[in-house]
Symmetry: C2
Subunit: 313 residues, 2 copies
């Protein structure tokens, strides 16, 4: 569909954090929009975006900022999308497309849909990419390159609107897949939400111990613990909203995790080495699949250690 790959006339981004500022940088780097308007309620963020020069216009007035936009992307915590949609929907021009980048889709669809005026199509999106850093300085244009972006368009979404959003993400180097909001929320509960929850949890457990000092936890973290601290350093507001808005799927997947963990604890208590060895062998295959699919580096230690070639001998 040609129009899908034609650059967007005016792109409006609401929220210039890690994702929003990466979209601004990527849209310019890859020539995906003729004009980029950055909208943020935080004056400090607006000032920084001006300094970085990653948008053509910067404003705190959402209604004003979206007026001429052909594509508006909400890049705010999922708990805030409803209010933002309410503030801008009436000011978007007919034929414009509204999208988002939220890690939860069912709750976002429910919060945004009631505010949509005639002629405004909503095509929810979720790029499965990010880092543990936040804010406009954390973004970079290639954040989405080679990563999946999941679209959850309503059944009656105009084909052209879906093609426009798909084309935008493909222009950023993302691989686009479509599914229902319900399935998205289940898949992400296990591939993202529960992993974050248990990472936050073990870091909290370690911090609260009395027999082991915080300094010991830090010093000896290379034994495995430090891997968990990365995602446990992610944005607190974004993640609070994820757990509050994807409650059912998260608690369901957490239930499965707990059942399996109880069985594993029992195997340890009863000295069932075969059961442990069988699981530990099975889990290696999944990582090989992730590396083979280009979703992970094959370098030891994520590449942290990175010995030079001459270091091997």
């Amino acid at each position: 569909m040609p129009e899908a790959n034609a650059p967007i006339g005016c792109l409006a981004l609401v929220g210039l954090g890690l994702i929003g500022s990466s979209l601004a940088r990527g849209a310019r780097r890859f020539g995906l929009a003729q004009r980029i308007v950055a909208i943020d309620v935080d004056a400090g963020v607006r000032a920084r975006v001006e300094e970085l020069g990653i948008a053509d216009a910067v404003t705190g007035d959402a209604a004003e900022g979206v007026r001429d936009a052909d594509l508006v992307i909400l890049c705010v915590p999922v708990g805030a999308v409803g209010d933002v949609a309410a503030a801008i929907a009436g000011h978007m021009k007919p034929g414009a497309v509204l999208s988002d980048v939220g890690s939860v889709k069912g709750a976002v669809v429910a919060a945004v849909t009631p505010h949509l005026g005639d002629g405004i199509a909503f095509v929810p999106a979720h790029p499965v990419a990010g880092t543990e850093y936040s804010g406009p300085d954390a973004g970079f244009p290639t954040l989405f390159s080679g990563r999946w972006c999941i679209l959850t368009p309503p059944e009656d979404a105009p084909e052209a609107a879906v093609a426009r959003v798909r084309g935008f993400w493909e222009g950023l180097g993302a691989i686009v897949e479509t599914m229902t909001p319900e399935h998205h929320d289940l898949v992400l509960a296990i591939t993202s939400h529960v992993p974050h929850l248990i990472a936050y949890n073990i870091v909290g457990t370690a911090a609260d111990l009395e027999e082991v000092t915080q300094s010991e936890v830090i010093k000896f973290s290379a034994g495995g613990f430090r891997d968990f601290t990365r995602i446990a350093a992610s944005d607190p507001t974004m993640w609070r909203d994820v757990f509050l808005t994807n409650k059912d799927a998260v608690l369901e997947m957490l239930g499965r995790f707990n059942e399996d963990l109880s069985a594993l604890a029992r195997a340890i208590r009863w000295g069932d080495g075969e059961a442990l060895h069988a699981l530990f062998t099975r889990t290696r295959a999944i990582r090989r699949g992730i590396v083979a699919m280009g979703q992970e580096t094959a370098e030891p230690d994520f590449g942290r250690a990175r010995p030079a070639a001459d270091e091997k001998a």
Copy 2:
């Protein structure tokens, strides 16, 4: 103590996997031993060590291999150290020092001590370093540089023997700390053993789901799940032995983890956003401490993403 920093005459390494082969490479690179003898029961490993040329002699006969050694380091899974100690202790020369690299110390001390002959000092050690790869090809000489190595010498250990082992690890660039085996096992249970257990567990849970396909788990793993797959790809035999030999501390720390996780699940179920935000904010500080102590990279995504400088704008 001068002798601590004098090179070791003959160093014998039993087990040439990731750790043993890194010790061979490091001892040579940093001039820590005049002669290095590699001992391994696996003919394939011995052949590979010959090809790599990382030892002066390679043998499958442990008794013969340790005969002239001044320092013997056991680099085998903790479940095997007892048998290896029984096989070599009687063949070590008086005044020689025996050490190990096991991730569990209490069980190792209990398994090795009964086999020690007169004049053989045992100084247990645990370098808190490694990667998810195994075998003689996975090692590199700087694996221990800037990492902690924990010694758990018995109260009656000769000072010179402890100094010899300490000097060896400091020569590899490690930071040496001493504690009791019991405290070591408690500290490592939370900084290493339980993190590995929950990583293995969630990878297993994800692999067994029916509503979410394995291909979906792999594709969307960049949402956080993939971080767990790295340590869940670690050596199955080594980790089976860790859990079987540090059962009490692991189950105790796992109990704390589960209590905290139940409270977190309850906060999600009841929509207690403040409790979630408070924990998610607190956990950020721990990672900052780990990065500040040089135990972790400050690069986003462990450096996987690694945008070039020009990528930022």
